[in-house]
């Protein structure tokens, strides 16, 4: 199961009913949240469908960034 990030673009804090809407959708699990974002485990198609009802939100894949290192390594 992939993880995606939902970011709320509205000027106020994220509406509680939006959060509840996402939480109550079968197949979606909220892993973490911040005042503007939700980290959600689930299916991209389900999330995209859900966001059609909530246009203030944007959907992003979770990606990772490495710690820059100048140390040389074998291999």
């Amino acid at each position: 199961m992939s993880r995606y990030i939902l970011r709320y673009g509205g000027s106020q804090s994220m509406p509680a009913e939006h959060l509840e809407n996402i939480r109550s959708t079968p197949g979606l699990k909220v892993v973490d949240e911040s005042p503007k974002m939700l980290l959600v485990e689930g299916d991209e198609a389900t999330l995209s469908e859900k966001l059609r009802e909530m246009p203030e939100w944007s959907l992003h894949p979770e990606v990772e960034y490495p710690l820059p290192d100048t140390r040389k390594k074998v291999g």
Binding site: V63, Y65, K73
Partner: protein, 505 residues
């Protein structure tokens, strides 16, 4: 040699329409629109290095995005003159194939595995010792390359006796390069073309905190008030809150599933602690060390999980949002790599629009393009430079000396530093002494150059109370960036290597 004209998209820092609340931004877009309507389509832009010819190729609307043409060398001056606009590369999309880039963790071999290796024919056991008193140096990473170009060889960590067994296929082996990276207290060492033999001892020079390294050369001074009035957030692997030279006001761990209040060091190489020390260490040599701006209020935002070498865009974005909400003025992001990410880009724009300036590391891939997020025009992208004579002979920083050299031939752009037109400033980042969990260590990288410039910006802005008192919006961020650009001094490397140069204070 003059660089080739390239097309870029210019948009306001927030949204797609110039804001009426930002007169400078509005005027800039209107001037470009007038130019687009003119027959020449060439706008003469006034910058602090003179007039730059900018061709306006297309426009979406009067106060909206413009397609411009200029040389990559012109970008640092353009960004410095108009900090409230984003300058984006023109991108052609193909079918979307998203790949995650994960760096392999530094492969340390267990002591048991080393013991096995030592028992095998072909394994060579080395002893790493202190040059000062001959004591063993435990926990040092030893990397022996038989062929550096193909990265062939063997590596391992020293045990409590300072010994490491390397399986190199012989008891007497010629090594092209031997790197030794101690955890703390000693300088890392590089030996070229050395023949390793069983029982060989390799001495490491001890760190002398009274010595002048490249950061102290450019940003010396021992005034504990430098940077006072600024709040700086370090978005990194955490900061050792129990280090005697560091005072961490607070912060947050934004890694999902970990305790939010655990923003201390994450137990890897002490990267965040080293970065924080370069900015804000409050020690005094010879027992401690001072940072570039010890007077700042320091906050730690940990985005790397416990023992992890990768940070997610979720943790990074949450950290940027939190640091902005906590009232940070400057953010330091010594991290990056991989494809640009719209989520992080949105958070960077939000930070700019909240009056916060973000410094980010160019990356350490050796003259490759500037990494994301540094490449995002809302960041101050920092390349790494060094200075000959600022590290002991025979130490690892010697391997980072490379052309181009500056007007002062002792200065050079580090061999590992990424470069490109997105570079805003350069900073000292070769053989830098700073704090690490449990003591002091030496590291090199754009990761070290970035906090040197964050600290320098803090020192500079502490002398500009009029800017700091401005409402926290994009005009404040723009004023800060303009002040930083105005205080930067070219060192003679060329714009793609140094942007506007090094911040002088």
């Amino acid at each position: 040699m003059a660089s080739k004209k390239t097309q870029y998209v210019v948009v306001p820092s927030g949204g797609l329409v110039a804001a009426e609340s930002n007169p400078a931004q509005m005027l800039f877009f209107q001037a470009l629109q007038q130019t687009f309507s003119s027959s020449s389509k060439v706008h003469s832009l006034s910058t602090n290095i003179g007039m730059l010819p900018i061709k306006v190729v297309d426009s979406i609307g009067e106060n909206k995005a413009k397609l411009i043409e200029c040389t990559p060398d012109d970008l640092p001056a353009l960004r410095a003159s108009h900090p409230s606009v984003r300058i984006l590369p023109l991108v052609y999309f193909q079918r979307a194939v998203h790949r995650y880039q994960v760096h392999a963790p530094f492969a340390a071999r267990s002591t048991r595995a080393q013991a096995k290796a030592a028992a095998k024919p072909g394994a060579i056991t080395l002893a790493i010792i202190s040059a000062k008193d001959g004591k063993p140096v435990p926990n040092a990473m030893v990397v022996a390359f038989t062929d550096f170009a193909s990265r062939a060889g063997a590596q391992g960590k020293t045990n409590s006796k300072g010994q490491v067994a390397l399986t190199l296929g012989g008891s007497n082996k010629k090594i092209e390069r031997l790197y030794i990276y101690p955890a703390l207290s000693y300088w890392p060492v590089l030996q070229n073309n050395v023949t390793l033999k069983a029982g060989m001892k390799v001495p490491l020079p001890t760190i002398d905190l009274s010595a002048i390294d490249c950061v102290r050369y450019f940003y010396g001074g021992n005034d504990s008030t430098l940077g006072e009035g600024l709040k700086v957030g370090v978005i990194d692997s955490g900061v050792a809150t129990n280090h005697p030279d560091l005072v961490v006001e607070g912060g947050q761990n934004t890694v999902p599933g970990e305790k939010p209040t655990d923003f201390g060091d994450n137990g890897t190489e002490g990267h965040g602690t080293h970065v924080a020390g370069i900015i804000a260490a409050r020690g005094t040599p010879p027992s401690g060390i001072g940072g570039v701006a010890p007077g700042v209020v320091l906050r730690s935002y940990r985005v790397f999980g416990q023992g992890a070498d990768n940070a997610s865009n979720y943790a990074i974005t949450k950290a940027i949002d939190a640091a902005v909400a906590d009232g940070c003025d400057l953010l330091n992001m010594s991290l990056g790599g991989g494809d640009p990410d719209t989520l992080t880009a949105e958070a960077l724009t939000s930070a700019h629009n909240a009056g916060v300036v973000v410094f980010a590391a160019n990356g350490n891939d050796g003259r490759q393009p500037v990494s994301f997020p540094a490449a995002n025009s809302m960041c101050q992208a920092v390349s790494a430079m060094g200075r000959i004579g600022m590290f002991p002979n025979g130490t690892e920083p010697e391997g980072s000396v490379a052309a181009p050299y500056g007007t002062d031939k002792k200065n050079f752009i580090a061999e590992f530093s990424n470069i490109g037109p997105e570079t805003d400033v350069t900073g000292p980042g070769v053989g830098v002494m700073s704090t690490v969990p449990g003591g002091y260590g030496v590291m090199s990288g754009t990761s070290m150059a970035t906090p040197a410039e964050t600290g320098a910006a803090a020192r500079l802005l502490a002398t500009k109370p009029d800017i700091l008192r401005m409402p926290r919006d994009q005009n404040r961020a723009a004023a800060m960036i303009t002040a930083i650009a105005g205080a930067s001094k070219l060192l003679g490397f060329g714009a793609v290597y140094e942007g506007k140069g090094v911040i002088t204070v």
